[in-house]
């Protein structure tokens, strides 16, 4: 994860996925800037591979996954702001 200068707080987001209405297009996985998501090996009710959260701590609530999703199956919410530790 990118380290910011001292005192900068990074938003901590949480990704919500409704796996049964996902169609597995992969837009969210291919364009997530923080590498939070990956395609699962399981199938959903329609037979598509839905995304799952790989690195939940990385999400910064940028909202790109929710903005690009054609099926309204994924969105992110703001959890809390976390302090970046000085190196």
């Amino acid at each position: 994860m990118k380290v910011f200068p001292t005192g900068v707080k990074v938003a901590q987001g949480e990704v919500h996925i409704e796996k049964d209405i996902c169609k597995g297009c992969g837009f969210c996985v291919s364009y997530c800037p923080m590498d939070v998501l990956e395609i699962s090996t399981e199938f959903n009710a329609k037979g598509y591979h839905f995304p799952v959260v790989k690195n939940p701590g990385n999400c910064i609530d940028c909202g790109l996954c929710g903005m690009l999703c054609p099926d309204f199956a994924i969105w992110s919410t703001l959890k809390e702001k976390k302090e970046v530790v000085e190196l």
């Binding site: 996902c22 297009c25 364009y31 929710g66 903005m67 690009l68 099926d71 309204f72 969105w75 919410t77």
Partner: protein, 257 residues
């Protein structure tokens, strides 16, 4: 309107529950355009009863079924005419048209020109899927230049922003589904224009273009938007043809008061 965004999607209150996620192909750009439109409406803080959505036939025509606003689904070729009529009857309403190539390029072009000349205050979001309906191998007004067709009939693809500008549109822009962030602000700008405004969204049809190697999967498809488009604001609309090996020029081209 109470929303619990921890449990359900923030856009769910704008959508009918039944057709969600069962209409379009995986990764189709129409879904992204609707998502963008809903985010715009959330940002605008306007009365939802004022918005009226008109759509035509085909995949784009399903937009009207999908949204909870006042909506009309009309025959092909009558979309723009119908929207102008709705606007003239209800002067307070904000009329948004979702159209595709079959809706006005083929049979309703004269209504488009007339509405532009009269400067009726409607917003046309034209989803250009590069094909229309049944004709798979025949050249049509928006077929990309030099793409193989059975009748060896090569023409330049129809330039919709140039048509809109020459009809007197006050706001003309063109985006792709990848540029959803720009598209949001473009729709906001067009909402506040008191005149005819046209936004073209280039979203090639998945069914016909998935056989091409470059658009086989969604990741490759979104990469296609990324590598083949270039943002040039205020470009002259005469240069906006979509030719093969040339980049698709996107941006805001006309913005009159």
């Amino acid at each position: 309107m109470v929303k619990n965004i921890e449990k359900s999607h923030p856009a769910d209150c704008f959508l009918h529950a039944d057709p969600v996620s069962s209409v379009w192909c995986p990764g189709c750009g129409i879904g992204t355009v609707i998502n963008t439109f809903i985010q715009t409406v959330e940002k605008l803080n306007i009365d939802l009863n004022e918005i009226c959505v008109v759509s035509g036939i085909g995949c784009t025509g399903k937009v009207a079924e999908y949204l909870k606003f006042k909506s009309f689904q009309v025959n092909d070729g009558e979309v723009i005419k119908y929207a102008a009529k709705v606007k003239s009857e209800n002067s307070d309403s904000k009329v948004v048209v979702f159209s595709n190539n079959a809706d006005f390029l083929v049979s309703g072009a004269e209504d488009f020109i007339e509405t532009g000349k009269n400067d009726v205050n409607i917003l046309v979001i034209h989803i250009n899927n590069i094909i229309y309906t049944i004709t798979e191998y025949r050249a049509i007004p928006t077929t990309p230049f030099m793409r193989a067709s059975i009748d060896k009939d090569f023409e330049l693809p129809f330039n919709i922003p140039h048509l809109a500008k020459s009809c007197g549109a006050r706001y003309v822009a063109r985006w792709t589904p990848l540029h959803a962030g720009w598209l949001i602000y473009s729709i906001i700008d067009a909402f506040y224009k008191k005149g005819f405004s046209v936004i073209e969204v280039i979203s090639p049809c998945l069914m016909y273009y998935a056989s091409n190697d470059r658009m086989a999967d969604a990741a490759g498809r979104i990469k296609f938007y990324d590598t083949n488009s270039v943002i040039k604001h205020d470009e002259s609309t005469e240069n906006l043809d979509i030719r093969i090996n040339n980049k698709i020029i996107i941006g805001k081209f006309v913005d009159k008061k």
